[in-house]
Amino acid sequence: MQANTYSLEEIRNDFPVLNRRVRDDKKLVYLDNAATTQKPNQVIDAITDYYQNHNSNIHRAVHALAEESTEAFEVTRDKIAKFLNIQNREEIVFVKGTTEAINLVAYSWGRDNVQKGDIVVTTEYEHHSNIVPWQLLTQETGAELKYIDIDDDGELILEQLDEYLSTGKVKLVAISHVSNVLGTITDIHNVIKKCKNVGAKVLVDGAQAVPHMKVDIASLGCDFYAFSAHKMLGPTGVGVLWARKELLENMRPFQGGGDMIREVHKHETTWNDLPYKFEAGTPNVADVICFAAAIDYLTKIGMDNVRSHETELTKYALEKMSKVKGLTIYGPKDPQKASGVISFNFNDVHPHDVATIIDKNGVAIRSGHHCAQVLMEKLNVAATNRASFYIYTTKEEVDTLIDSLEQVAEVFKL
């Protein structure tokens, strides 16, 4: 941990887009980091360097560029292993994002391990990517899909998980490490422990966790873990599925094609070793390679520092926002229990109108259902506004967001 080295100014200087002026020459205030984060020069330079100096397909040709590219591609896998304390590098599968990772599990593991009468458990605060694949699976197999509800503080009611597990029918619990709408941090160690006690598998959607806090997969003890590069300074189009080796070994391939095979004959094929069995076709070579620069960047700052910066900002924002008349905040009010995500509604103004009006000030937030319509139903709202922070977010930017709400009040004569 490098406790005193967090320089917000230095960090911001690495992100050219943060100097953008938008709309009527307003300074950009980017608060949509839960959707995707901005990229530092180090990542942008890495992708340029790759295409200018190394571009080649990987894993096959023997020429110099192919060797360089293959090595760089595999270096990213090693860096991920170190970053998340993963013991076996062959358990790290590159996919195009968290959504694909979850679908891979639903298809390759789910189709052979979930049957009629079984239960798959998910939660009310899941992203559609951790609901729809399980709907498809359970509808196809005749299994049942159950939800863990949330309470008024936006936290999971884990007694319901106990009830489901007590039936002895639960095959899988698919659960977010951090809610993308409420920012709630799941009591994931507790969930995994409960599941392990009865032999249920656990898939963790870590898309909103890995970018924001230290995640140690070895100590978690789950079975599958998924996340995306673009939410942690990396490029779009790269995601990771981590799964236990013995599970991957026994799973059928997700896609057939080049690279995932050992031998192909007219009527039979044998599979390549892990992780390549699940990496059919030319992967996203350039973006996987430059993802390493994002991991290096976060490692240099230190994930504990990332977390404490965001906690401080969230505390600051929650204190100020709770004083704004007509503002409803959804989710935990304790910054220790949440990631840097604040969902809110302002009086009865539709979130799209809020977002459009404050966008004139350069403030970029997300408005809508955040791919979490099940949660919207629970909260009994059509949509919410969501401000989400990252390593470069400043208190002044939080102030600009809150000041901009005054303009919304003015327009709507509140």
């Binding site: 103004v349 979130p351 799209h352 109108d353 408005s367 809508g368 259902h369 059509a382 303009q407 709507f412």
Partner: protein
């Protein structure tokens, strides 16, 4: 914020007090539509008598633009003949609220503005094509609705 090109007095007023807001029980035409990305979600209800729109209402949840445009659309088509309503163009609706610029300036918000018109075109199509079994009168309303934005 004076002179805001979107949030004019008229839009704010309609969003606060929408016209023809509510449900028609057992309406001759009911059409639900939504914009999945922003959460606008409305139902449009139409009664047809003597080949005219004798009554029209809408309900649902949406942003100010969606509420205002739905209100104005229902005002504009009430009492009109189906033949006239079939020819109703999006420019007529947008200009009524001074929102023509949205087509160029905001490809996202144009969907909010035109959601009710899309529901109207689909609704009348299904009235002719499915209820009256009159494919000829239904014309290409379905394609128009699909390509509205």
């Amino acid at each position: 914020m004076s002179g805001d090109p979107i949030y004019t007095e008229m839009i704010i007023e309609y969003s606060r007090n929408p016209s023809n807001y509510g449900k028609i029980e057992d309406a001759h035409i009911t059409r639900h539509d939504s914009n999945p990305l922003c959460g606008d979600s409305i139902d449009l209800y139409l009664n047809i008598d003597d080949k005219k729109i004798s009554d029209v209402k809408f309900d649902g949840k949406g942003c100010a633009i969606c509420m205002a445009c739905s209100s104005v659309l229902t005002e504009m088509i009430k009492g009109k003949s189906l033949e006239d309503v079939k020819k109703f163009e999006k420019d007529e609706l947008l200009s009524e609220l001074g929102l023509e610029h949205l087509i160029k300036t905001s490809p996202v918000r144009i969907k909010c503005a035109l959601l009710s018109l899309k529901a109207l075109k689909y609704g009348i199509y299904s009235y002719f094509a499915e209820k009256m079994n009159d494919v000829e009168s239904a014309g290409n309303l379905k394609e128009e609705a699909a390509n509205l934005y």
